[in-house]
């Protein structure tokens, strides 16, 4: 939490799991909101998902996972409480009185079953903003279906269009859509807060993964209505050539090169020392390069194959040519540019000091008015007592009682298997 963050004083209760919603509420936490992750002792899969140091879950595995720091509980507080227990429910509703936002990613119907649907919560607190992040939304025939990020890549049209040239469709990503949806969650919540300042009224946000996905493939949606189809082209382009990924000298090292016009082609030719093949008239114009792009890619690949990818990319960029090495995570951690921009954030989770300092990706935007950093990653139930006494007004004996009765937890149940 940044000191005096812009969202200081904004409280978010979030019933969140997996990836998309925690990523979204993570932005609010970074901006200073008091984001309370209300966790169930029965669903610890996020805390089991890792990554763990050296790939091995340790003694206090439930607080060790890197994903918790990256988005799960980063800059948030944790209340581990069974809200399906009547006393847990009572406490949750008390917290709603003090909250600005309640978010969830259950399938439609679950919040209503708990008594936490928008109507019930706004009866308690008319200023409450609720956001449900679901696969397909609260209405429509698919509303009861679940999803994973890649099933949404598939359903929105992105994966159908993704694939090697001439090959079958392939999943576009493993969890790109989770992050994309999370960004949309953050945008929608900030919009809702902005609106509420004007109206003073709460509102209900029905946000879906499918529709976020479709909104990202707009051009294909328009094309489809007029019978235009897109062939799968791998890294090749509709009309640019060269525009592809080319082998570099070392094993599994690659470089992309993009040429958008004749002037850029001339620059690339010069950079290659104007070899005979490149001066062939087949490659003189944008149209002829595109028509002969398979041969062009092959010949260019023979040239790139003699070079180190990082050195070649730098040399080409210095000559004004659009190019970049295919960087790996290891490359990125050591990347001079990212270091220079303080993009890589080192964080030591004092809750589990044996994990030691680790490097994380930072935020891809800078605003001196809204600085961000990772201040903490909440351990399971770490903030139970403070939240229950200060926000829900419970006495210490009442808190102890909830613990004895198995309503709140500060650690997994003893029989919970280590991941």
């Amino acid at each position: 939490m940044a000191e005096k963050g812009v969202l200081e004083g904004v409280r978010v209760l979030t019933l969140e799991q997996v990836h998309a919603l925690p990523w979204g509420t993570g932005f609010l936490a970074d901006l200073g909101a008091d984001v309370i992750r209300v966790e169930s002792p029965d669903h610890l899969q996020d805390r089991k998902a890792g990554p763990f140091p050296g790939g091995q879950a340790g003694e206090e595995w439930w607080n060790e996972a890197g994903n918790l720091v990256y988005y799960g509980t980063r800059n948030k507080r944790s209340l581990c409480m069974d809200v399906t227990n009547p006393r847990g429910k009572e406490v949750f509703l008390k917290l709603v009185e003090t909250a600005d936002i309640v978010t969830d990613n259950f399938r439609p119907g679950t919040m209503q079953r708990f008594g936490f649907d928008h109507e019930s919560l706004s009866a308690i607190n008319p200023r409450i903003i609720t956001l449900s992040s679901t696969a397909y939304g609260y209405t429509g025939p698919w509303r009861r279906a679940g999803s994973r990020a890649r099933t949404v890549d598939a359903a929105c049209g992105l994966s159908y269009l993704t694939g090697y040239e001439g090959g079958p469709s392939m999943r576009a990503s493993n969890n790109y859509m989770d992050h994309s949806v999370g960004n949309n969650v953050a945008y929608a919540l900030l919009l809702a807060l902005y609106q509420r300042k004007k109206t003073g009224k709460g509102m209900r946000v029905d946000l879906t993964m499918l529709e976020t996905g479709v909104s990202a493939v707009g051009p294909a949606i328009l094309e489809a209505q007029r019978g235009i189809t897109r062939d799968r082209l791998g890294c090749a382009h509709w009309w640019k050539a060269p525009h592809n990924v080319y082998p570099a000298r070392d094993d599994d090292r690659w470089i992309v090169i993009v040429v958008s016009c004749d002037e850029e082609w001339d620059r690339l030719k010069t950079a290659m020392g104007s070899p005979e093949w490149a001066c062939d008239s087949r490659f003189d114009t944008a149209l002829s390069r595109w028509r002969n792009r398979h041969e062009l890619d092959g010949l260019l690949g023979e040239w790139t194959g003699q070079h180190d990818d990082l050195e070649l990319a730098r040399a080409l960029q210095e000559q004004g040519i659009t190019a970049g090495a295919c960087l790996t995570a290891k490359d990125l951690v050591n990347d001079a540019h990212l270091k220079d921009r303080d993009y890589l954030w080192e964080f030591t989770n004092t809750r589990v000091p044996e994990v030691g300092p680790r490097i994380f990706a930072g935020r891809p935007f800078r605003d001196t008015g809204n600085p961000m950093k990772i201040s903490k990653a909440a351990g399971l139930g770490q903030d139970n007592e403070v939240i229950l006494s200060e926000l829900a007004g419970l006495s210490q004996p009442e808190v102890d009682d909830l613990e004895t009765e198995g309503v709140i937890y500060g650690a997994p149940r003893p029989d919970e298997p280590r991941p």
Binding site: T151, L158, I228, R366
Partner: protein, 402 residues
């Protein structure tokens, strides 16, 4: 205009899809968004195929049409002094300016943050570039493919392990940068309400690619293993696309109560799937070809929509691999009122996607307008709103300023 941001004015001076899409996100929520294009040629994406009905025309590029809804359009050459003056005047009544010049170029033109904010301290300037405003790569040339490469997406996320890196389509890194930009803008707007001061936001598309799609960095620093592409290779249950009667589908082991193969064996009526060798993920990968031969013929008996309905009824989680046409014709999206029909004078009516969320049941796109034609609002804005005489506009046009 109605909408949450309807009291705000946005000026868009961008050359790349990231800036256009970021401005669209704000425009779709009601901000009065003015797109500033170079006279004559306009935004580069106007000239990039595919074109609606295949006719090359500056108002028919699908990318331009999709990324510029709800904007008004003017032309202005900010490389000329008269153009800069007009831009500066406009900027003084503007809340948010989105630009994508090479880092430093705007300041060279006298339109840097300092100059813009001197008399308009509430202005929020958003600079979206491929590599950010500083650092060793700041002067590099980029595009979506370069961002996928240098952001780690190509090497690790899509594609097959045994093949070259491969990325995804439709400029997703540009869109990711845009979404991050919109979050930063909203945070800055809320901050401005407290301080009465704007700010300069620096968005990097490369960094958006690193931080957003996949979380490459910390999986590496925790485990020492360098993430590598190929996660869907031979992954029948959790990654591959499998043919159906009328399309393709991707399965998951979710929603099966921890007994995925029993649940799928029952659903597909294929008892062979309960063989212990398929019980673990590793076992399924090891024997994937055999598994495929059991699963594929069963799936091939289903149509996509039937399969979706029946798996949903049992709590199983799948994804239909939909073509864009199937998305447009989706009965689900139809019932939700997600698509909004906009009638553009050049292309005729078409259905455009909404924003991904409904607030109190409202689709923000319901009152939308289609992308502007080049210079469509020149007279409305320069003459009607800024009070420049038509005669003077004529001179500016002759001088190719507008």
């Amino acid at each position: 205009m109605s909408g949450i941001l309807s009291e705000l004015r946005v000026l868009e001076l961008t050359h790349r899809p990231s800036g256009a899409y970021c401005a669209k996100l704000l425009a779709d929520q009601g901000a009065d968004t003015i797109k500033v294009e170079p006279p004559g040629w306009g935004d580069q994406s106007r000239h990039e195929p595919p074109f609606i009905d295949d006719e090359p025309h500056p108002d028919r590029s699908s990318t331009f049409l999709a990324f510029n809804t709800n904007k008004r359009g003017i032309t202005l050459d900010v490389e000329q002094e008269a153009g800069r003056d007009l831009f500066f005047r406009l900027s003084q009544s503007t809340d948010i300016i989105i630009e994508s010049h090479p880092p430093g170029r705007l300041a060279e033109l006298g339109l840097g943050y300092k100059a813009l904010a001197e008399d308009n301290p509430r202005v929020i300037l958003v600079s979206i570039s491929y590599f950010g405003q500083d650092g060793p790569y700041a002067g590099y040339q980029g595009d979506d493919l370069v961002a996928q490469a240098m952001g780690g997406y190509l090497y690790a996320v899509t594609g097959s392990a045994a093949k070259p890196p491969m990325g995804t389509v439709l400029q997703q890194m540009e869109i990711t940068a845009a979404r991050n930009g919109a979050v930063a803008v909203m945070a800055a707007l809320l901050r401005r309400e407290q301080t009465e001061r704007g700010t300069h936001i620096d968005v990097s598309t490369m960094e958006a690619a690193v931080s957003t799609p996949s979380g490459l960095i910390h999986p590496y620093t925790y485990t020492g293993r360098n993430p590598h592409r190929g996660g869907s290779d031979g992954n029948v249950m959790d990654g591959m696309h499998l043919p159906t009667l009328d399309g393709e589908v991707t399965l998951t082991t979710a929603g099966t109560g921890g007994r995925p193969m029993q649940a799928w064996a029952e659903f597909l009526e294929e008892p062979g799937l309960t063989d212990p060798k398929f019980a673990s993920r590793g076992g399924r990968m090891e024997h994937w070809e055999e598994m495929y031969s059991l699963v594929a013929p069963k799936l091939a008996q289903w149509t996509n929509l039937d399969l979706m309905r029946e798996t949903m009824a049992r709590g199983l989680v799948i994804g239909l691999v939909q073509t864009p046409t199937q998305v447009v014709e989706s009965p689900h999206l139809e019932e939700r009122g997600f698509f909004v029909e906009l009638d553009h004078p050049e292309t005729g009516p078409m259905r455009y996607p909404g924003s991904g969320f409904f607030i109190d049941g409202e689709n923000a796109m319901a009152a939308a307008r289609p992308a502007p034609r080049l210079g469509e609002h020149n007279v409305e804005i320069f003459n009607g709103e800024m009070g420049i005489s038509l005669r003077e506009l004529g001179l500016l046009r002759a001088a190719r300023v507008i």
